[in-house]
Assembly symmetry: C2
Homo-oligomer: 685 residues x 2
Amino acid sequence: MDAAEESLRKSLAEKQSAVEAQGNAVRGLKASGASKLEIDSAIKALNGLKLDKTTIEKQLQSVISGGGGDSSISKETFRQSVGNTLERRLFYIPSFKIYRGVAGLYDYGPPGCAVKSNVLGFWRQHFVLEENMLEVDCPCVTPEIVLKASGHVEKFTDLMVKDEKTGTCYRADHLLKDFCNEKLQKDLSLTPEKAAELKHVLALLDDLSAEELGAKIKEYGITAPDTKSPLSDPYPFNLMFQTSIGPSGLSAGYMRPETAQGIFVNFKDLYYYNGNKLPFAAAQIGQAFRNEISPRQGLLRVREFTLAEIEHFVDPEDKSHPKYSEVANLEFLMFPRDEQMSGQSAKRIRLGEAVSRGIVNNETLGYFIGRVYLFLTRLGIDKDRLRFRQHLANEMAHYAADCWDAEIESSYGWIECVGIADRSAYDLRAHSDKSGVPLVAHEKFSEPREVEKLVIAPVKKELGLAFKGNQKKVLEALEAMNEKEALDMKAALESKGEVDFFVCTLEKNVSIKQNMVAISKEKQKEHQRVFTPSVIEPSFGIGRIIYCLYEHSFYTRPSKDGDEQLNVFRFPPLVAPIKCTVFPLVQNQQYEEVAKIISKSLTANGISHKIDITGTSIGKRYARTDELGVPFAITVDSTSDVTIRERDSKDQVRIPVTEAAAVVKGVTDGLTTWEDVWSSFPHHT
Amino acid sequence: MDAAEESLRKSLAEKQSAVEAQGNAVRGLKASGASKLEIDSAIKALNGLKLDKTTIEKQLQSVISGGGGDSSISKETFRQSVGNTLERRLFYIPSFKIYRGVAGLYDYGPPGCAVKSNVLGFWRQHFVLEENMLEVDCPCVTPEIVLKASGHVEKFTDLMVKDEKTGTCYRADHLLKDFCNEKLQKDLSLTPEKAAELKHVLALLDDLSAEELGAKIKEYGITAPDTKSPLSDPYPFNLMFQTSIGPSGLSAGYMRPETAQGIFVNFKDLYYYNGNKLPFAAAQIGQAFRNEISPRQGLLRVREFTLAEIEHFVDPEDKSHPKYSEVANLEFLMFPRDEQMSGQSAKRIRLGEAVSRGIVNNETLGYFIGRVYLFLTRLGIDKDRLRFRQHLANEMAHYAADCWDAEIESSYGWIECVGIADRSAYDLRAHSDKSGVPLVAHEKFSEPREVEKLVIAPVKKELGLAFKGNQKKVLEALEAMNEKEALDMKAALESKGEVDFFVCTLEKNVSIKQNMVAISKEKQKEHQRVFTPSVIEPSFGIGRIIYCLYEHSFYTRPSKDGDEQLNVFRFPPLVAPIKCTVFPLVQNQQYEEVAKIISKSLTANGISHKIDITGTSIGKRYARTDELGVPFAITVDSTSDVTIRERDSKDQVRIPVTEAAAVVKGVTDGLTTWEDVWSSFPHHT
């Protein structure tokens, strides 16, 4: 718990006791018929104590709600104002709205769809093309065996409780979390001990078993939020959408919960395609599905979403990266495990330092963290509201070597948008084991290497004579000895000729004689090393990135006459759903012709744009397109030159009609900047 | 039936009779002890007849298998050779191969994924951008009510039969089709009548009810192909993958079988987004799912596939298209309904003529047919193996105004790859009815129009006095009269004061008097017309188009020393998965540096490429990239100039290192052609 909060809660409790004591004192004075002067003075002291208490309550309230007392309210207002604009301009639409929708399902409307397509296009350029990744495209429908091997059938669950009267389902941890947060924020009379306990529960939330969660829910008397009915015990609910493949109904299948498995099962072919060389990365963009128990947080927790995933396969003994130096000097907010545990906050660290100090496990992981930083900030994510948070030991799967989340701050708090994990050899081994197909890599030695190998050679005949029916179990136990055990036995047999040996399958000691087993160390030549590659997995939740981008890009500014606030999205041209609008200044056939010529040229250049020939005032037309985040507007007010206006600065330049499309294309493709344009063409006022 | 086939079957039957008769004659001569000379001459005649019969059999065999006697074999060989190359080079991979795969599910491997991405990119440029369509992106998971409204829950079925012993499922129509085809192709002794019957069954296959299919299967004694066990009666199997949305298990959902419904349910918002103006088109690219009973035909019939669909909403009273003239002069293979019915073949027709002669229902439908033709041929589909086939009356849904399929010829025959249908107002009406939300458009009149409207005003009081408890039924019957009935009654009441009127809910006549109802025609002012738009839907099966493109692009040519056949895909640069390879001629640090500089420049220009610095011979490296359809190869053999080779002509030019990337980009983006390059730079031999 925050030190300030703890001390305030303590003072508040003390002040409360003081108020009570002074109250008793006043009542005592009155009962004993003390003088008016005495009583008045005691009441004055009581009122002073009450005032102090109120002051402390206010301070505590402010600390709890995170500094500025109104910040949670203003976050809510901001979110609503972004959300209203997004929904009104069809960036997204609740799916199947005319049928009253389905929780957790959203459509991308025209501008949202264009933003998504731009983000994915840039992802392909930034990762797949730049790193020569092998992109694949696998189906969403997945047979059960694949997801059994990956562990999803058994473990991809959330704990659920049911309203015992209505049957409505809730996520058990969400109810407990809401209860604790509400108590902490609204109940100022909590003792510091109770507050610490609730905070401890919140910290442990992800680690609680069904039994522990159930016990807490009972202990705190938590009931169903809508009906106040009692709740069932928590039980696991698998989050995969289940279906059946083929007409027989006998082949269970699921809609994939991630795209990664499609890559792992293809490792062998992809390795071959890459000339049997490591490292290489495969990538996949596609839909993933999670049947959330009760989706909340709007566009951030949905039941179907687009993932973009990279699986970078690397030799576990060499996790260096050839292009690491290109990102080593980047400096940004990182939040290592130690800083989290000791209650500090994220701080700016140079990536190269984080790797060399071992905070980030290896160069390849560091390289991807750097590339993800560049990707997100180029899209328009505010670098001061982006941090890389390392997983705590209890968050990480047992096999993972290290794991960092790119978290983006939004009105909902810090949101995990990209996970970057070193998953070691876990996934390939799991599929090797289940399928029986070895998913391994080979390192051919330039010349054979001599290695010493332990050889244990039991003599079957002697073992048979000595142990009859138990022969096989003794033999297996001998072969299963590790190097130390075997060498100890060798020494004992050589000195004493006989040794007691515990065979665990027989649960007893047997006596091994020298003629029963030959133990030696032999030199052998090896031509290659066979190993399971490690995989480093950057996994991008595209919808979450886009939602955070909306929040980071949104601002309002007063209209010209100052009587209303206008909405603007400051999307970079790369991301903007429409790059340019074309308006004839007035309705006039000549200007409309020019607008059409420019439009044709924009289309030929692949620039998405919109002609607006409605007679609406130019100010209204600008406001409309600012709200869609359109970076440039071309106003046609002559047949030779036109005006191009930049959205955020509202600066305008004059450009010949024939050059208009090329100028917009240049800035949109990132070949030039608006500053270049501003310095090359006459300004317009 | 083909005339040649019919006449050959007839001749064969006659010749068979003649052989039998002559055989009898020979036996008769022998029995009657005729002279050796007589007998020998009869045997000679018999052998002649047998020879004739064999000749006719051969001719028939050739006609049945479609002209060249070996063509079906060579098609099979061709298909295998394309398929082997595609699978070996990972254009596609049977999904979940290490678990022995799932029928009807395929992955796109790296080059396949790149081809798909290029095809979709061009689709967006050619349709969405060029026509300013509103692109949306809706979820695959769809609640039941939506697919009930669209009719899929009830009607999206295939008829299935089960092996009664093993339970294996088959598509009933496929078994009947296979039986008929096999009989027709292999049983030369079929009578012309029987052959005609089987062909008739094949033609009717899509129209047969479950009962009719079952009867035919019984009549022909068709059994399970694998076990020869008896088969169950056919019954409908719904092809949608079913699932359950949310944790309660009470909300049924399906994986969408098409993307179109997501657009229809959003009509109202999209119409508003378009400024309440018609026509406009919405578009969607996404996965669709069909749980095929027993998928066959490799990549052509799969359980999950990418669709790209357009819904063009238009005023049913005005289906003209402003850009129609841009395609009206295209001329290509069309196969109208009449030509199909009269047994003719597809023929080249100018699109404008097809529309003006009413073969194609309207301009907008014609416009899209033309745009689809341009799309497919620019991708590399052979225009001589592409035809537009009109649906026959029995193929088309009852509500459809007209429907054409773009069919591409492949080794599997003519494959439906794009459907272009005028679906009238059906879909919007269905969702309006089910949801209660009006999905309509408005045409505001520039000035109000005066319309005459029939007004029927029953007088409740008089009806109550006369009919007591039946009053309501009489009143409803009066109000339900159509214009003619009402005006007849008005005339009768005016002349006779009373009239007999049949009330069907009462099942009897009642007597209506003049004071019981006032009937008049009144003039009213209308300010707008409210109507349900028609929708014209071009729907693209992206996987099928890509597979046909593979077949049309594939060829083989002898290696330099002529000892083997090398595979080539002649993809246009637009489609090619990798645009360019860069080889240092020999392993040499200087050349490798140059290769890296060129590679960097290609990456910056967004051109996908591959560096090959293995020491393999240049010929082998060319062969490898030809097999991936890479159009250009840059060989680095100096530090100043390099050689660029074009894949199909094998022509080479010398180009300065500094210009190499720009030249490749120009040709790839379609700004220049190889011919331009060939004429601008020195040739290399």
